[in-house]
Point group: C2
Chain length 151, copies 2
DNA sequence: CGCCTCCTGACCAAAGAGGTCAGGAAAGTC
DNA sequence: GACTTTCCTGACCTCTTTGGTCAGGAGGCG
């Protein structure tokens, strides 16, 4: 139930790319801007490239840029590219698990967990993120004062 | 962003305890009912005991039971007891991370992620779970047809 | 040609996941 | 008091993941 460093780094780097608007940005510049270890970041960018989220060119004037408009890339896309499926239980998707006895309805709970994650992650695009204009459902969640307190 | 076997097992065992209603249940019976490796389960139950969720007695007629009424124990309580804090990013709570540059608003996204998880996990009690009567916000999420399809 | 930058695989240490094993300590029964 | 039952605890184990680093290769550009 946690967000890995890799996913956090990936989203941050993608946000920088979204702001650069189709201009190739060097890995080193991304690493500097977001304070990410360069070599680790390049592995992450490679995964994003294989997932079709990012494109790249080598050589002088090379770098990385988004494969699609920033409005069409969601946080969920990026998280899935580097962490795999969201909200799997014991490495299986919740809809494929059979629960017995008094735990029978636990499946619905994990399905609801996944659905609630999706309503956040699939609705925030990179364009929203860099503009600071999150969708209303999301900013409403973040606006609750006790969303900011630890438990 | 996944649910560990430990958390899944813990909730399932707790559901059995909730259904037994203050009668001590032996570890072996719980393990059988939910198909969980016994020795692993006893470690989990110990963690739940240390967290004050479960109580236990040894010897003949011993076993485990809930320390509080099933209406007062939420899935979030159990998940936190065995997995630690929900939705930490890089092992830190989202409210304590400082984001720079174009990722500045990412903090709000992770806060919203945590808030959305809480609206599910903190509102479903063990009593709801065994009765199959989930709170309306939660069953509404699970009722959407595309909540059941993988992506 | 030479430089720049991405690309890739190998490696590494520490931690976590998912268990198993062996023995000890309380609670009840005879 | 002995015996059985059941929880309690720590040690251990294998495999994978996490969060990286290192070394070298391959493609672009001037």
């Amino acid at each position: 139930m946690r967000v890995s460093a890799k996913a956090d780094y990936a989203v941050r780097a993608a946000a920088e790319l979204a702001a650069a608007d189709d201009d190739p940005v060097k890995g080193e510049k991304l690493a500097d801007a977001q304070d990410i270890p360069l070599q680790f970041l390049e592995h992450i960018l490679l995964e994003l490239k294989h997932a079709g989220i990012v494109r790249a060119r080598r050589g002088a004037k090379g770098g990385y840029w988004l494969a699609k408009p920033a409005e069409e890339v969601t946080i969920a896309d990026i998280v899935r590219a580097v962490e795999g499926p969201i909200a799997h239980v014991q490495s299986s998707p919740p809809e494929s698990i059979e629960y017995r006895g008094n735990a029978e309805h636990l499946q619905e709970v994990w399905i609801a967990v996944r659905a609630s994650l999706r309503t956040v992650l699939e609705h925030v695009t990179l364009a929203d993120l860099v503009a600071g204009q999150l969708p209303s459902e999301v900013s409403a969640l973040a606006a609750q004062p006790d969303a900011w307190v630890a438990r």
